[in-house]
């Protein structure tokens, strides 16, 4: 395990409160979350369904407005950024891996991976060159011209990982990356994520309820009823 906490916090969340609905139907999902995530580490956010994991992930990503509190990502206070600049900041610094992959069905694997680069106004030939290189890193160089429908679910998630990493984000956000995969495929994806996703100048946040992949993380934060009830380092062979 890297000595990640010696690094500055890449994500610093303080007093995060988020509710949905109004009046009698108001539900408070996050109740004053404090959390630091460090460069070089992979943090797993775990807890029961409805505990607020995905809401916290959305807030950290800056794609969901919070009711109270502050979130700094790489030293930038998200709440103070106008919507447009927050979108640009997200595109430049974050990568996303989704439970359902969310690949664009009409684009090939290489084109899907190139999307974040095209959003950053990088020319199409260069974007595709870098996309193919990233597909090579996730072991899919021979599937670059395949449409998502012609790939297995494991391969689709690998394409999604390549897409999330192609613009070298400093914050990688993963929402249940193994939920749509069977056990062996889930293990492979986490191995891949750990191998190509982890980096000293990047932090990886993974929301999961799959206990079989807990050992891939560096720290485990448990959310229950909108509160973080524990944050523990994960013991690994040779490090515990």
């Amino acid at each position: 395990m890297m000595d990640s906490q010696a690094q500055p916090a890449a994500v610093r969340a303080r007093g995060i409160v988020k509710s949905f609905g109004t009046g009698d139907t108001k539900v408070t999902v996050l109740r004053g979350i404090d959390l630091d995530i460090y460069l070089g580490e992979m943090l797993l956010l775990v807890g029961e369904s409805g505990g607020g994991k995905t809401t916290l992930l959305s807030a950290i990503a800056g794609i969901l407005d919070i009711d109270d509190g502050n979130i700094d990502v790489l030293g930038v206070p998200l709440g103070e950024l106008p919507a447009g600049k927050r979108t640009t900041f997200r595109g430049q610094t974050m990568g996303f891996i989704y439970q359902q992959f969310n690949l664009l069905p009409a684009l090939t694997a290489a084109e899907n991976v190139a999307v974040p680069l095209l959003i950053q106004k990088i020319g199409r030939p260069e974007a595709l060159r870098r996309a193919r290189a990233m597909l090579d890193r996730v072991g899919l160089s021979d599937r670059a011209e395949f449409l998502p429908k012609n790939l297995s679910v494991g391969q689709q998630q690998r394409v999604a990982i390549a897409r999330a990493l192609v613009n070298e984000p400093r914050l990688l956000i993963c929402d249940e990356p193994t939920a749509a995969l069977d056990g062996p495929n889930g293990q492979k994806i986490m191995e891949l994520l750990r191998e190509v996703g982890r980096s000293p100048d990047r932090c990886v946040v993974v929301v999961t309820h799959d206990s079989r992949i807990f050992h891939f993380g560096d720290r485990l934060a448990r959310l229950t009823d909108g509160r973080i009830v524990s944050i523990e380092p994960i013991a690994r062979e040779g490090t515990a």
């Binding site: 997200r90 996303f96 969310n102 974040p116 959003i119 929402d175």
Partner: protein, 218 residues
């Protein structure tokens, strides 16, 4: 062949095969003297005189001089054609009927195109949400939607105009009702089509502008 027109005997020497028209009024070609014997007695028995200028005399010059000397309207063939079209549109049910059909087509086209585009957007909300999460601005998404709408619309325009033109040629050749296809008409249709595309895209753009990218995590 001897026939009768308004109870007056008439010898038919030939039957002309002419182009069909919207008005099903029989036309008799005869001399003016005979014609006024066939029609009922009216205050006016002459609607217009068809004249041809001598070679080398401009038509516009002739119409101007006729108007100056008689005080009556005198028109070139093109002017008379448009005047006739205007009269028919204003004084017959054709204008209302065709206008209603076109208006209905415009409204139905707009509704169907708008609904189709909206459904496409709703079906792909997660993908749009993912793009937003990855840093795509609403402005870029709006441009994407407009590009798709205009691409589909202009493709349909080309196919539609092409088919209509072929239909027009074939119909005219087989003696059916002819129709004119002027550049002004094509331009008007294009403007109407672009309006439909813009409206259709706008509904989707509003949806996307309000879309929270957090939808991808739900």
């Amino acid at each position: 062949m001897v026939s009768s027109v308004n109870d007056k005997l008439a010898r038919v020497v030939a039957i002309a095969k002419t182009q069909k028209s919207f008005t099903n009024i029989p036309v008799v070609y005869t001399t003016y003297e005979r014609a006024i014997r066939y029609v009922p007695r009216e205050r006016r028995t002459l609607s217009y005189v068809l004249a041809k200028p001598k070679d080398g005399v401009p038509v516009e010059e002739v119409t101007r001089r006729i108007h100056e000397q008689t005080g009556l309207g005198a028109f070139t063939a093109e002017e008379f054609g448009w005047k006739t079209i205007g009269w028919v549109l204003k004084n017959t049910g054709i204008g209302i009927n065709f206008g209603t059909t076109i208006l209905l087509g415009f409204i139905v086209g707009m509704a169907i195109a708008g609904q189709t585009f909206y459904l496409f957007t709703v079906e792909n909300l997660r993908q749009f949400g993912a793009l937003k999460a990855m840093g795509t601005s609403t402005f870029t998404l709006a441009r994407m939607i407009l590009l798709q709408a205009f691409t589909v619309g202009l493709t349909g325009y080309g196919v539609g105009i092409g088919l209509a033109t072929v239909f027009g040629f074939l119909t005219a050749q087989s003696g059916g009702l002819p129709f004119i296809e002027t550049w002004q008409l094509l331009l008007l249709v294009l403007v109407a089509l672009l309006a439909i595309c813009t409206f259709s895209a706008l509904i989707s753009i509003i949806k996307l502008a309000r879309l929270e990218p957090a939808i991808v995590f739900r």
